[in-house]
Symmetry: C2
Subunit: 305 residues, 2 copies
Amino acid sequence: MSGVDVVFLGTGGSVPTRSRGLPCVALRRDGDLVLFDCGEGTQRQMMQAGLGFNRPTMVLISHLHGDHLLGLPGLLQTMSSFARDKELELFGPVGVAAYLKSLHRTLGFVSTFPVKVRELKPNASVEKNGYKVKTARAKHDITCLGYAIEESDRPGRFHPNQAKRLGVPEGPLWKELQSGREVNVEGKIVKPQQVTGPSRKSLKIVYAIDTRPCEAVRRLARDADLLMHDGGFAEDRKDKAKAYYHSTATEAASLAKQCRARRLALVHISAVTRDDSILLREARRVFKQTIVPKDFDVISLERPK
Amino acid sequence: MSGVDVVFLGTGGSVPTRSRGLPCVALRRDGDLVLFDCGEGTQRQMMQAGLGFNRPTMVLISHLHGDHLLGLPGLLQTMSSFARDKELELFGPVGVAAYLKSLHRTLGFVSTFPVKVRELKPNASVEKNGYKVKTARAKHDITCLGYAIEESDRPGRFHPNQAKRLGVPEGPLWKELQSGREVNVEGKIVKPQQVTGPSRKSLKIVYAIDTRPCEAVRRLARDADLLMHDGGFAEDRKDKAKAYYHSTATEAASLAKQCRARRLALVHISAVTRDDSILLREARRVFKQTIVPKDFDVISLERPK
């Protein structure tokens, strides 16, 4: 697979509607699953989307308002019912461990698999296999994390002719060079840089929900291939967006433009917004590459060639 | 309104499916709402069913397994978002208050309305306006309550001719007699019994989920107009039903027959049961008046005339 599928499982705001579920976005990435938030109903949305419950999974919780994590215990229970054995990683702000612990205590359920909880602060950077998870402090009324999934750059393109010219025979030594390791050919060292082009960019995906536009998210989202940003309010409700620490579609679009994102997806669509074409129109005036996904929409991001 | 609407909001078992939500059944009763259990997703099912969030509401939780009450915090939050002001009553087994309290503590949310929690033991009887809530100990692996909503008998039919014959003039005095109070007509006492027929039966509705067939539920459900009983397993999985403290469709049907219920609705349909016509066929062999409701099915129970 040469990219990442972004599956919008719940595109609603703090209150669901008939058509929009509570916040959750899934990334399907080389067989792994990353969930941004886990609103009530996530497990069922995952079923509808055919995502499966036994993949390597990482859940990133933005903040401790119920609409963003009330789907977590049910998801863990259902994974247990399906006899999941793989560890699940859960990242979230300080307090997420206590939340889960209290549910274990009051409802007494036990997972069939390990749940590794890690509480993150803003400006954290966690190294994973092939990518980093970075956080920034979003601007909400409680601590709220924006997340970036930043894939490591891939090695540059391998040039077979150059390798042959340097006397490296086709076979295992090529593989070594392609993996970024130097090789010894009859006493002569050949370095990967001698036989490969410049390293190639990978994907950067950013999720910032329940936030006013702010500098920390702007920095986090610089050059993102996809920025998912709070933007469910139309301009005529700008005062509400401000009062509740959310953003208008236009504000999200300005931020996307400023940080040179490639694409913007508006999330946390307020239940009061009956016609999302208004959001789209307003945002696109500022930033053309905007979409307003519906539940179960999928966008496929290709890694640059 | 001369009856009760039973709205099946979630007919699934401990794991939802694409078509069956987690356990919840709503009764619409003279403008009030009674919810049996409140599985994850209940708030959204209520929206789909158009039930509204500001009615006088009573929630009856059967037991503390997550699939039966993980929808509660989200429901309370959404009601608050809609600025509900009416009190909500919550009944459940011991532990339900601690569950709610722990969520208030770890997620810090506050309702806009009072939530009156009352922990009930088996064999409780709570007097409400016009009906009783009764409990029985279901047979599960933790304390689990079966519930009966038992409406009070209504006054007998009023006989105008009889009232006239006794000298009671049409008007406010008739109303008094119809309300069960005696009246004084020029020094002569007339009692309600003299002008009304025998008192009339009302409805009895029973909910017993996550249970093996047992004597306590059988007693609770005697002469029920509707018995909703755990019965999501077919006979070929009888051993599983037993092992997990559930019931087969046939076992539920036998119990319905023994307690002379008028109608049986099978609930907690296991996700493994792909074809519910098997359940229906098996149950109807024993008890003809069986149904296997789907989510959003509504049945209207009329009070006997």
